[in-house]
Structures are given as structure tokens and as C-alpha cells.
């Protein structure tokens, strides 16, 4: 039972990551390889605020969101007015720089040693301590995020993003400042990524930089590519599938030494096949055209 609750909690965490990246990839047509970096920044900022300054979970979370939004401008301002390829490369670069800082700035982040003993959140006088309560807590937060992202996606703002995705020049001709919309979409996606960061840290009670690598960014991206982008169902189906997949592999008794590589190979093959035969994924609407 606890095993199932653990998986469901991870699904809640990854659902927020997938849905927020979807705003960028599926709505705006921008490919980002830096989502794990924002996830990590959110985890580290909120953890450090809780542990060093004794802030509560919510204030720390809000400041973490503010921090990721601000940091998102360091890549979006220079690269989003340029070609799409440049943005992909710049986002990948940001991901690598963030990992490098988390790993090497030992005085603040404790580098490879990680931060142990993170307290479980307390909200409205309630201790969220058991696995079950954490599952409920993460489900509520995930539902709030999904609701907000749904509203954003269906607002005039979201429709403009889709217009930019479909035809950038036409959107610009209709008086939309394309670059400004992209920068905002990126900032929103980054801000939302901080939420699962704080959830993850409070759940595992330990973080280290290896949870926020390039491969993690690729994993989040593959969730939404396989599930599909441009609506809410695609990323959600992708999340459930991709979190359950490794658990299913566990029952196939693949030796541990190659299990991690095996998983990555499956993700890679799935991406290639989806891109060739069904670019909208299992249940998405955007075909990357």
C-alpha cells in the first residue's frame, strides 16, 4: 500500500512538472531542456529557506517560485528573440550551469553531499507526516497547479501562445509582441516547476544535485512527448505511464547494473518512434509542425 502511495505521490510531483513544461512545449512550441534546473532551483531555494531561516513551507515555496521566475529571465531575455535552435541550446546550457552550481558551490548547497533532514511541511497546524497525508497534500497542490495551468491555457494569453506556436509571423502581424509572450510563458513554466521542487524536497527529506541533471530534463520532456502536448490529458497520461514504466520493468527482473540504461534506451526509442509515427503523442494535440 505504501509502495502504491509512494508511486502516486511521485505521479503528483511529475504531473506538475509535465503540465508546466507543456505550457512551453505544447502551447508555445518552444523546446526547453532546462526544466529539471528550475525544479532543482525550487527544491534548493525552498529547502534552504526552511532550514536556514526557519520559514514555513508556504512562504518558502512562494519565494522559491519568485526566485525561479527571476532566474528564467537570464536565458529567456538573450535567447528568445532568436531562432528556436538557439533557445534549445541556451536552455541546455542553463541546465548544465545550474547543475554545476548545485554541485560545486559546496558552502551553500553542500554539493555532492546533499542536504539531509529536511523537515516535513506543516500547514494550518497540521503535520503532514505520514505517507498517506503527503499523498493527499501533493494531490491537492497538483490539482491546484493543474487548474491554474488549465485557466492559463484557456485564457486569451494561452490562446495567443497557441497562435504563436502555429504561425509566429501571423501572430506578430496581428500586433502581438511574440518575444514578450514567449518570455512570459517561459517565466510561468519555470515558476510552476519550483512547486514540485519544494514538494519533492519535503517528501524525500533529502536532496542532492543528482536529482536535477540534464537527463532529468530529458525525462520530463519525454513524458510530455510520449503522452502528447498542447492539452492537459496528454501530459497527464504521459506522467502516469512514465512513472509506472520503471516499476513494471522492476518486475521483469532486469539486473540492477543495466536497469537504468535499459530505461533510458526505452525512453529514447519511444521518442524516436513517436516523432516518426505519431508526433502528437498518445493523446496530445500539437504535432510539432
Amino acid at each position: 500500500m505504501n509502495y502504491l502511495l509512494h508511486i502516486l505521490t511521485m505521479i503528483n510531483i511529475y504531473a506538475i512538472l509535465a503540465l508546466s513544461l507543456n505550457l512551453l512545449v505544447g502551447y508555445t512550441g518552444l523546446l526547453s531542456l532546462s526544466h529539471a534546473a528550475f525544479y532543482g532551483i525550487g527544491a534548493y531555494i525552498s529547502t534552504l529557506l526552511v532550514m536556514k531561516l526557519g520559514l514555513g513551507f508556504l512562504p518558502a515555496l512562494l519565494l522559491a517560485i519568485a526566485g525561479t521566475v527571476l532566474l528564467s529571465f537570464t536565458i529567456s531575455l538573450p535567447s528568445l528573440r532568436l531562432r528556436g535552435d538557439y533557445f534549445v541550446l541556451a536552455s541546455l546550457g542553463f541546465q548544465i550551469i545550474v547543475f554545476s552550481i548545485l554541485y560545486n558551490w559546496v558552502d551553500v548547497t553542500r554539493g555532492p553531499y546533499g542536504i539531509p533532514g529536511i523537515p516535513r511541511p506543516k500547514l494550518l497546524g497540521l503535520d503532514i507526516n505520514s505517507i498517506f497525508s503527503y499523498f493527499v497534500f501533493s494531490a491537492i497542490i497538483a490539482a491546484i497547479c493543474a487548474g491554474l495551468l488549465y485557466l492559463i491555457g484557456h485564457s486569451p494569453f494561452g490562446r495567443t501562445l497557441k497562435a504563436i506556436r502555429e504561425n509566429e509571423i501571423a501572430a506578430a502581424a496581428l500586433g502581438k509582441n511574440v518575444t514578450r509572450f514567449k518570455i512570459r510563458a517561459f517565466a510561468i513554466a519555470a515558476g510552476f516547476a519550483a512547486v514540485p521542487g519544494a514538494l519533492f524536497a519535503g517528501y524525500l527529506r533529502y536532496i542532492d544535485p543528482t536529482s536535477f541533471t540534464v537527463m532529468e530534463s530529458v525525462f520530463i520532456l519525454s513524458i510530455i512527448i510520449i503522452g502528447g502536448t498542447g492539452n492537459l490529458t496528454g501530459p497527464l497520461i504521459g506522467t502516469v505511464l512514465m512513472i509506472f514504466l520503471p516499476e513494471a520493468l522492476r518486475f521483469l527482473q532486469i539486473p540492477d547494473a543495466i536497469a537504468a540504461n535499459m530505461r533510458q534506451i526505452i525512453y529514447g526509442v519511444l521518442i524516436i518512434l513517436i516523432m516518426r509515427y505519431q508526433p502528437q503523442g498518445i493523446s496530445g494535440e500539437y504535432r510539432f509542425e
Partner: protein
């Protein structure tokens, strides 16, 4: 001290430049962001390791065999992954994502077979040469020579031969060359073979110098791609120039800070270029509508 660092950086830059030239050859002509170029690099290093250290082949046959196999592998990637996408006129985004998927598959296969630990290709102390205050190892000298020879041949081919003319035409307008009666799908084959072979040269030389692990391709493709952009997209000389610049700056960063920040330097340079000179060192400013998508 500073001259030694500059020399080291310049030679590291020579290896980056070979990767960058290969990447530029493919990117400038086909417009495909060939991320799997990094996996080709890793594969070349491991093929060479297998032939040299596991099968004990002599140096030159091992190099020649690696180059040939990697060139064929480059063609196979294009035939099996990119061409089917090009034929159904899939977007460049789809090609980029497929390339990323392919990178993951190849690198994890290699890690599964050989393990994740670093392999040493040439044990023992290398013989060195000294040029004034600068001391270079045999492999460093070989890297510089290989770069010089390949760089010159690259531009002789590009400027003086029919193939070079076709490549330049394809860079300027991929659609137009089919009007001229040249089959662009055949040019792709040449471009992927040559580009992959260039990466293989860099992989073998760098592998001999510092050893190999399954993740070396990531740094290689990043340095290569950033070099192409800061040098100026579409300009082959720019790719080499950008790579040398990155090599030198990384080497100076080791001196001022620490080797851990090398990759950070690459991207700080990229971001600075994107802000202040997005057209690259040798590029000319173009409006976004004119830029090839």
C-alpha cells in the same frame, strides 16, 4: 605559465573545432540539429578503444577502421532516422527531438556494454616536446597537426571541388540544388559521412589524451554546437574559430578558477554572444525573417 595554458587551450580548441566542423557541415547543409553527433563521437572513441585495447590492433589500422565504420554509421543514422522524416517533411523540431532520442539510445547502449567508468586508452607517460617555454605531449602535437591538415583539406574541398560547390549551394538554399539536377539525398550521405569522420578524429585523439567515458559526447556536442553559433551559423571558418576561442577561454578559466567550471564558461560565452553579437564572430546581421528557419 600563461603561454602554456594558451597552448593547451588552443590544442583543446583544435579537437573541439573538428567536432564543430563536422556538426557545421551537417547543420549548415541539412538544417538538422544533429544532437546525436555527440553519440557518434562517443561511439568512435569506444570503437577505437575496442580495437586498440581489446583486440590490440596496430594504431593506424585501428584509426582507419574506426573512421570508416563511423562514417558508415553516420550515413546509417541519416538513412534510418532523418531521411524518413525529411521525406514526410517533418519539422526541424521533430528532427531535433528524434536526434535527442537517438543520442540517448546510443550512449546508453555503450554504457550498458562497457560500463560507466573511465577507460584509459594510452597508459604510461607520453613523450613530450618543448617549444621554448611550452611543453606539449606527443598526442597534443598530433591533435594540432591533424587539425591543421584537416582544416586545410576541408577548405580546399569546399572551395576548389565540385563537391564543395554543391555543399555551398546546399547551405545557401537546400531546395535549389534539386532544381540543378543534383539529388540532395545523395549530398546528405556525403555530408553525414564526412561530418561523422571529423568527429571520430577528435574522439580518438582526445580519448588517447585524457581517456574516455560514455558521457564524453555530451561535452563534445555542446562545445561543437556553441562554437558553430558563436562563430556564425552558415560559415564554416566561424565554427573552427569559435571552437578555438572556447578552448582558450576554458583553459584560462582553469587557471583563474577551477576545472569544474569549464562547461559553465562555454555557456557564459554563448549567452554573451546571444546578447551582444547573435550573428556570431564572422556572421553578418540579418533580420529574423531572412534567417533560414
Amino acid at each position: 605559465m600563461v603561454t602554456q595554458l594558451l597552448a593547451n587551450g588552443l590544442i583543446a580548441g583544435c579537437a573541439y573545432a573538428l567536432v564543430a566542423l563536422g556538426f557545421a557541415l551537417i547543420y549548415n547543409t541539412t538544417r538538422t540539429f544533429h544532437f546525436a553527433h555527440g553519440a557518434v563521437y562517443t561511439l568512435a572513441a569506444y570503437l577505437f578503444y575496442t580495437m586498440r585495447n581489446l583486440w590490440s590492433l596496430p594504431l593506424l589500422p585501428a584509426m582507419a577502421l574506426t573512421l570508416g565504420l563511423v562514417a558508415i554509421f553516420g550515413i546509417l543514422i541519416d538513412e534510418m532516422i532523418y531521411k524518413p522524416l525529411v521525406k514526410r517533411s517533418s519539422s526541424l523540431l521533430i528532427q531535433l527531438l528524434s536526434s535527442l532520442g537517438l543520442y540517448i539510445v546510443i550512449v546508453n547502449f555503450i554504457a550498458m556494454i562497457y560500463g560507466n567508468e573511465t577507460k584509459v586508452l594510452s597508459p604510461g607517460v607520453q613523450p613530450t616536446y618543448s617549444l621554448g617555454a611550452v611543453i606539449l605531449t606527443q598526442i597534443q602535437v598530433a591533435t594540432a597537426v591533424a587539425f591543421a591538415v584537416l582544416f586545410i583539406s576541408f577548405f580546399v574541398i569546399l572551395r576548389k571541388t565540385r563537391l564543395g560547390k554543391v555543399i555551398r549551394a546546399m547551405r545557401d538554399d537546400p531546395q535549389l540544388i534539386s532544381v540543378m539536377g543534383i539529388n540532395p539525398l545523395r549530398v546528405r550521405r556525403v555530408v553525414f559521412a564526412l561530418g561523422s569522420a571529423l568527429a571520430a578524429v577528435a574522439a580518438m585523439l582526445t580519448g588517447l589524451d585524457v581517456g574516455i567515458d560514455p558521457n564524453i559526447g555530451m561535452a563534445a556536442i555542446l562545445n561543437g554546437a556553441v562554437a558553430v553559433i558563436i562563430g556564425g551559423v552558415g560559415i564554416f571558418e566561424g565554427a573552427a574559430l569559435g571552437a578555438l576561442l572556447i578552448g582558450i577561454l576554458q583553459s584560462l578559466a582553469v587557471w583563474q578558477a577551477s576545472a569544474r567550471w569549464q562547461e559553465t564558461i562555454t555557456f557564459v560565452v554563448l549567452i554573451l554572444f546571444l546578447i551582444f553579437r547573435p550573428e556570431g564572430i564572422l556572421g553578418t546581421r540579418r533580420r529574423i525573417e531572412e534567417a533560414t528557419a
